[in-house]
Subunit: 353 residues, 2 copies
C-alpha cells in the first residue's frame, strides 16, 4: 500500500511536469478579474511587472529613513532567532531536531531597521552586513494580518482591526481589486515583511492564493508544484520555541511540553541545493524585484530568500473550498502520516512511532 | 497495488462527496463571463433557467412542422438502432457483449420526425408512442459539430464548414458569449439533437465543458462526479456496428475485425436503477426542460434520457489543458486497464487478458 502510494505520487508528479514543465508566465500588465480567474484555475505561478502597491512620488518611499519617519517610536512585534531560520527545522542543544518557532520581541522600528542590512543596491560583498551585525537575526514576518486582518473587512473599520503599522495603512490598499473580483472575496490577511539576506523562510505550502509584491530589495522564490510535495520528505518534529534566558540574556531553544502535537514539516532545509532534492523534483526559481508582484497559487511549496534590505507586502486570499482543489491538495499531502524526523539516518527505513 | 488504488479512489470519492454533497446551483439568469469562469473552476453542474438559443416570436418554433418547413427535403444523417441504445454495451447474437455503434443512415427530416413521438406534452400513457412506432429507433445524435464544427471558427465562414442543418444556423448562435469569454476560446463543436423517449445515451464522460440547452421536450440527466467513475465499473468490450442486411433489410450487429481496439466503457447500463451502483456512488438527477440550460462540467459522467419529442443543442468547449485538471481526470480514469467485459460473472475476480 505504501508502495502504491509512492507510485501514484510519482505518476502524478511526472504527468503534471510533462504537461506543464517549469515554465511560468511573465505579464507586463496586471490581469483583469476575468483573466486572473482563468489563471487561478490553471494555478501556475505568474510574475507581474508591476507593484500591487501604488507607487509614491517620494523616491525615498519604503526606505529605512522613510519607514522610520512614518512609524515614529511605535513598538512592533519582530521574530528573533540566532540564525535567521524562524519556523524551521533546527537542531537543538540536545542534538535533536525541532520545529523551532522564533522569539517574538517587541521593539521599535528603528531598532529593527538598525539590525538589518543597509538599504539600496547590495554591496559587492553582500555578506559584509551579515558579518558586522549582531548575533541575533531580526525579521518582521508576523503573518497574522499585521496590516489588515479579516476583522478589517468584516467590520469595515480601522478601529476594530488595530495594526502595529497603522501609519502605513494609507499607502497600502486593503485589497487588490482584480484579485478580490476574480475570487469574489476579501483577503484573509495582508502582511508587511521587513528583513534582509540573514533570514530565510523554510519551504512550506499554504492553502491560500497569495499575491506577493516587493517594495524594496528583492525576494528569491524557490517553488515546487503541489504534485512534488513528496520530494520534500516531510517528517514529524517536536515543537520548540526560542526563549531569552533571564540569566544570560541569550536565546535558548526550549522544547514545548511533551503533549504538544508534533509538527509536520519538510526535512529539506535548503531546496536551492541541487543535491537536496530527488531527480523527480523540478524547482522553479523566480526572483521578484522591487516593483514586481508574484502570484503564488494555493498549495505550491515555497522557500524564500532575500537580497539585502527587503520590504514586501503579501495578500492571502482563501482558496476555493468547493469542487476538487481542496480534496486534491489533501490527497497529495495528508492521506498518510510521515515518519518521525529524529533518529532516522535513512528516511525510507526509519523508525515508526 | 490494485488494492491501494481502490482504496485511494474510495478516499477521493468520499472526501469529494463530504465536501460537495449532491447539491447543484440553479440560476435564474445566465452568469457573466467572470461568474462562469469561477463556476468552471469549481466544476459542479449548474441548471440555468433560460435558453442559450434566442427565443423566436413564432410559438411553433422547433416543433415538428416548423422543423420540417425549415429543412425541406434535405437528407440528414441519423443514428439507427433496434433498441435506442447507440454507442452502448449491447449483447450480440453470439450472446457476447459488444460496444455497439449505430447504423448511420441518410434520411429526410420528415422521415426522422415521423418516426418520433408526437410533439407537445407527453400523453398520459407515454409508452404509447413507443408501442406504435416501427421496430427501429432513430436519433439525431451525430456529435460531429453537425451545426458548427471547429472549422467554422477557424475559417469564419459557412461555406468552409457545410452543415446538414444549414437552414437552422440563422436561429442558433455559433457560440455562447459568456462561455467563450470565460474560457477564452471558441466552441469545439455545436450539435443539434432530435429524438424521443425511445433513445437513451449510455453513461460516459467527455473532456469538454458542455453547455446543453433544451428547445422542445425535456432531458433527464443522471450525473456522477469524476471521482465516482470507479463506481461505474468500466470494462473493455469488442467493437461492433449495426449494419443493414442486404438480404433481410433488418439491422444486424456485426463485430469489427479482431484487430480493432477494445472499447473501454461502463458496464452499468442503467445508472437510474438504484441497485446498479455501489453505495459510494451519489448520482445527481437533473431534468432540463425546454427553455433551460445545463452546465455539465468536463469529466462528469452522464446518462441521458428524454421525455417525448425532444430537440436540444449543445456546445462543447475544450477543457483547460494546462494545470492540474487534465492530470487528475487521467489519474481517476486511465492509470489502469480495466478487466475484459465478457466472461466475467464476478467483475472483481474476473478473467484477465
Amino acid at each position: 500500500m505504501q508502495e502504491y502510494r509512492r507510485e501514484a505520487l510519482r505518476w502524478l508528479a511526472e504527468e503534471y511536469h510533462d504537461l506543464n514543465g517549469t515554465q511560468y508566465d511573465v505579464l507586463e500588465d496586471f490581469p483583469t478579474p476575468l483573466e486572473f480567474s482563468r489563471m487561478v484555475h490553471i494555478s501556475r505561478p505568474i510574475l507581474m511587472r508591476g507593484s500591487a502597491i501604488p507607487s509614491l512620488s517620494d523616491a525615498a518611499a519604503w526606505s529605512k529613513p522613510w519607514l522610520a519617519d512614518k512609524m515614529g517610536d511605535r513598538d512592533i512585534s519582530v521574530a528573533v532567532t540566532p540564525n535567521g531560520r524562524a519556523d524551521a527545522v533546527t537542531r537543538g542543544p540536545d542534538n535533536k531536531l525541532y520545529f523551532a518557532e522564533p522569539l517574538t520581541q517587541k521593539m521599535s522600528v528603528q531598532a529593527l531597521l538598525r539590525s538589518l542590512s543597509s538599504d539600496g543596491p547590495p554591496a559587492a560583498d553582500a555578506s559584509q552586513d551579515a558579518r558586522t551585525s549582531q548575533a541575533e537575526v531580526h525579521y518582521l514576518q508576523s503573518q497574522n494580518g499585521n496590516l489588515f486582518s479579516n476583522r478589517y473587512y468584516e467590520l469595515r473599520g480601522d478601529s476594530e482591526d488595530p495594526s502595529e503599522f497603522e501609519p502605513l495603512r494609507e499607502y497600502i490598499p486593503s485589497e487588490i481589486s482584480w484579485c478580490s473580483d476574480a475570487l469574489d472575496r476579501n483577503p484573509d490577511a495582508v502582511n508587511l515583511w521587513i528583513g534582509d539576506e540573514k533570514s530565510v523562510t523554510s519551504i512550506h505550502s499554504d492553502p491560500y492564493e497569495n499575491i506577493y509584491t516587493v517594495l524594496r530589495g528583492s525576494k528569491q522564490f524557490t517553488l515546487l508544484p503541489p504534485t512534488e510535495g513528496w520530494c520534500l520528505k516531510e517528517r514529524r518534529y517536536p515543537h520548540a520555541t526560542y526563549v531569552r534566558s533571564p540569566v544570560t540574556s541569550q536565546l535558548e531553544l526550549v522544547p514545548s511540553p511533551a503533549e504538544t502535537p508534533l509538527v509536520r514539516w519538510s526535512s529539506v532545509t535548503d531546496p536551492t541545493d541541487p543535491t537536496a532534492l530527488p531527480a523527480e523534483a523540478h524547482p522553479i526559481h523566480i526572483t521578484v524585484n522591487a516593483g514586481e508582484t508574484l502570484y503564488l497559487p494555493a498549495g505550491w511549496w515555497h522557500y524564500v530568500c532575500q537580497r539585502g534590505f527587503t520590504v514586501a507586502v503579501n495578500y492571502w486570499y482563501d482558496m476555493e473550498g468547493r469542487g476538487m482543489s481542496w480534496v486534491w491538495l489533501n490527497f497529495l499531502r495528508d492521506t498518510e502520516e510521515p515518519p518521525l524526523g529524529n533518529g532516522e539516518d535513512e528516511p525510507e527505513g526509519g523508525e515508526k512511532e
